[in-house]
Symmetry: C2
Subunit: 358 residues, 2 copies
DNA sequence: GGCCATGCCGCAAACGGTTACAGACACGCG
DNA sequence: CGCGTGTCTGTAACCGTTTGCGGCATGGCC
C-alpha cells in the first residue's frame, strides 16, 4: 500500500508523449504495480480472486500508464473475439440500415464489435460463410439479414461450431427472427379486394438479386390465397418483379400501367418499390388512391409522408430481438435454436381507395 | 511432386466431419505438404521466394484440408489488422447508410473488414477514439463520418500513430472529404430569394445531437451571406433547430408555420428535415411550392418522389473518395493529409415557387 | 575449378496476452 | 498443534501465426 502513491498520484495519465515509441504492455503494468501479469489480467477484466486492494492498485497504475490491451493478442489467447459479423445484401437499403443500427446499439452495449459485410450475391454469400466460420476467429457469431442459407449449409455451419441468427429467413438449424409473410401478402391483398379491386398487380422481388427467395414467395402466396378465398384467380400478366430499388420498380410499373388492361391496384414487396410505382403513376398522371391504389410493406420512414398504405413490420424490434438471441447463443450453455415471429400491422393511409370507374 | 497426388486428388475438400474437433493449423498443412510453416505462410499469401511448384502443392494441400488461417494469430504476429473502424452518429440515417455502403464496397474489394460503431454523443466519441487507437490493434485506420475532432485531439491521435480520414469535417491533421457548406447554404437561399421570398425560415441541426457543429454553422453562414448580398437581414425568429429526424423537424416546422408572421419558404439542413416540414405543411393544409416553398440538402432517394428541391451532394462518391484516401494512407510511405472537396449541385423540383400573395 | 550471386527454404524467436496449476499464507477447528 | 479450507498470487505453458536470418543448392562467370 505504501508504494501505491508512487504510481497513481495524478488525476490524469501522464501525457508521456509516446509518439508511438514504446507501447505499454501488460508486463510494464505488472512491473509498475509489483504484481504478476496474471494478476494484472485478472484485475483489469474484473475477474474474481484478486484482493480489492491489489485490484485498485493495478487499475490506478494501468490508468497512469495509459495501458491499452492488445486485442489480437487477447483474442488469440482467449479464443474469443467479442465481435459479431453481420451480412446484409445492401447496407444502404432502409430496412437493412435500420436493422444494423438497432442491432449495433444492443451489441455495443453488451461489449461486442460489429463487423459489417455487404453480401449481394451467391458468391459473396459463400465467401462470407467461409470467412466467418469459427475457425477463422474473425467473429464469435454471425447474423444473416435477408441472406438465406439452405438447410444443409446451415447445418454444416453449426456443425463446425458456428453460431448464427437469421433475420427474415427461417431455417431449422439457426435461430431466427421473422414475420409471417403469407399473412403480409394476404392482409394487403384482402384490403384491396375489400375495396373492390379485381385486377391487382403484384410487384415481386427478383430472385436474382435477393438472397432470400422465401420472402417474395410467401407474400405472393398470401396474395394468391386471398384471391382464392374470394373465389378469384389473379391474372398472371399482372405479376412482374424487379430489384428493391425504386428506379427499377418505376420502370416496371410504368410498363404495366400502360398495358391494355392495366391493374387498378398494385401490391409491392417493399415500400421502396411502392415509391417507384407512385413515381410511375405520377409520370402517367394517374392519381394515387383514385386512379391507382398502392400497398407496400415495411412502413418506411417516408411512407407516411407520401401517404402510402403499407404493412408495417417493426424493424428496430427485430434488431433488438436478434441481439437477444445472439447474446443468449453466446452463453456457454448450448440451447436449441430459437425462432421468434413478430407481428405485422396494416397501416391505412391515402394510397388506397375504390377502383375508379373507367 | 510424387506425393502431390496423395494430398490433392479430389476436386473438393474432404468433408472431414470436423465437428469442431481439431481445427487445422498451419503446421498440419506444412506437415502434409512436407514443407515448413514459413513456406506455407508465404505460399498462401502470395509472397515471393516460393517456387511455383511448391506453392501449388501447398495451395492444393491447404484446400484439401480446408485450412483457414486464424486471424487473431496472424494479426498479432503481423501487427496489422486489415480492418478499418468507422464511426457514424446514426447508422440508420440515409446519408450515413449510403456512405457506409459505398465505403464498405471499396474496402471489402481491397481486402479490408469494416467495423461499424454508432457514435451519438461526446462520451461515445471519446470512447471510440480511445478504443481505436493504434495501440489496441483493433483497426488499422479510422473513418469519422460527421464526427468532428478538435485540432488538438486529432493531432494527438495521429501523434500516437493513428490514421484517420474525416468525412464532412475538415481538420488539418486528418485527411478529409468535404463539401463547401457555405456555398450549399448560399445556393439554396439565393434560389429562394430569386423567387421573391423575403421571409425564409432556417431549420438548423441541433448542436447537441450533432457531433459536427461546423456543417449547420457553415450552411447558416451561407444563408446569412446570401441575405447580405441581397441587402437583407434575416429575422432571427425564423431560425429553429432540431435533430435530423423528420418527426422532430415536423413538430418544429408546425410551430413555426403557425406563428403570426410565418415564413413563406424554408431551408432545411437535410432532406429528412425537409420531409418533416412537408408533413407539417400537409397538417396545416399548406400547399408545397405554392403556400410554402422548401429546399433541402442531400438529394435523398425519396426527394424525387415528393418533388423536393434540394442541394445534391454525391454521397456514394464521397464514400469512394474516402476509401481512396484510406488506402493511400495505409501504404507504408507517409504522406501529408489530403483534403478533397466535392461539388454540390442544385436540383430544382416542384417544392419551390414564388411566395403566395396573402 | 573456385567463387559469388541468387533463389528457395527452414529454424526459431517473436507477437502480447490468458489461464491451468501449484504455491503461499492466514485462519478456524478439533 | 496439526490439518483442512479458502483466498490470493505467481510461474510458465500455451494460443497460431509471421518473419529475420542463416543454410544450402544451383548456376554463371572469370
Amino acid at each position: 500500500m505504501a508504494d501505491l502513491g508512487e504510481a497513481s498520484l495524478a488525476g490524469r495519465p501522464v501525457a508521456q508523449a509516446a509518439g508511438a515509441g514504446s507501447p505499454v504492455r501488460i508486463g510494464d503494468v505488472a512491473r509498475a504495480a509489483e504484481v504478476s501479469t496474471a494478476t494484472v489480467s485478472r484485475a483489469l477484466r474484473g475477474l474474481p480472486h484478486v484482493a480489492t486492494e491489489t485490484r485498485q492498485r493495478v487499475l490506478a497504475v494501468a490508468a497512469e500508464l495509459d495501458y491499452r490491451p492488445n486485442l489480437p493478442a487477447a483474442r488469440l489467447a482467449a479464443g474469443t473475439t467479442n465481435t459479431i459479423a453481420v451480412a446484409v445484401p445492401d447496407p444502404a437499403a432502409w430496412f437493412n440500415a435500420t436493422m444494423v443500427g438497432a442491432l449495433g446499439r444492443e451489441m455495443t452495449a453488451a461489449g461486442y464489435d460489429l463487423l459489417l459485410s455487404g453480401v449481394a450475391n451467391l458468391d459473396e454469400r459463400q465467401r462470407f460463410i467461409e470467412l466467418n466460420g469459427v475457425r477463422s476467429g474473425r467473429s464469435d457469431a454471425v447474423v444473416l439479414v435477408d441472406v438465406a442459407l439452405d438447410e444443409a449449409a446451415a447445418e454444416a455451419f453449426v456443425a463446425q461450431g458456428g453460431r448464427a441468427v437469421s433475420v427474415g429467413f427461417r431455417t431449422k438449424a439457426l435461430s431466427s427472427v421473422t414475420i409471417d409473410n403469407v399473412a403480409v401478402g394476404s392482409d394487403a391483398t384482402q384490403l384491396l379486394l375489400r375495396h373492390g379491386h379485381r385486377r391487382i398487380g403484384l410487384l415481386s422481388l427478383d430472385s436474382g438479386d435477393s438472397l432470400n427467395f422465401s420472402i417474395p414467395a410467401h407474400r405472393a402466396q398470401g396474395y394468391e390465397q386471398a384471391h382464392a378465398e374470394a373465389g378469384l384467380t389473379p391474372d398472371p400478366a399482372l405479376r412482374v418483379s424487379t430489384s428493391n430499388s425504386w428506379a427499377e420498380a418505376r420502370r416496371a410499373a410504368h410498363a404495366l400501367l400502360q398495358s391494355a388492361e392495366r391493374p387498378s391496384a398494385m401490391f409491392a414487396m417493399c415500400d421502396e418499390q411502392a415509391f417507384g410505382i407512385m413515381l410511375a403513376a405520377r409520370d402517367l398522371e394517374l392519381c394515387i388512391g383514385e386512379d391507382l391504389s398502392v400497398v407496400g410493406v415495411d412502413d418506411h420512414d417516408q411512407s407516411r409522408l407520401v401517404g402510402l398504405t403499407t404493412v408495417r413490420q417493426h424493424v428496430a424490434r427485430q434488431g433488438t430481438v436478434a441481439a437477444e438471441l445472439l447474446l443468449r447463443m453466446l452463453q456457454p450453455s448450448v440451447e436449441p435454436p430459437q425462432h421468434v415471429q413478430l407481428d405485422t400491422e396494416l397501416i391505412i393511409r391515402d394510397s388506397v381507395g375504390p377502383p375508379s370507374v373507367d
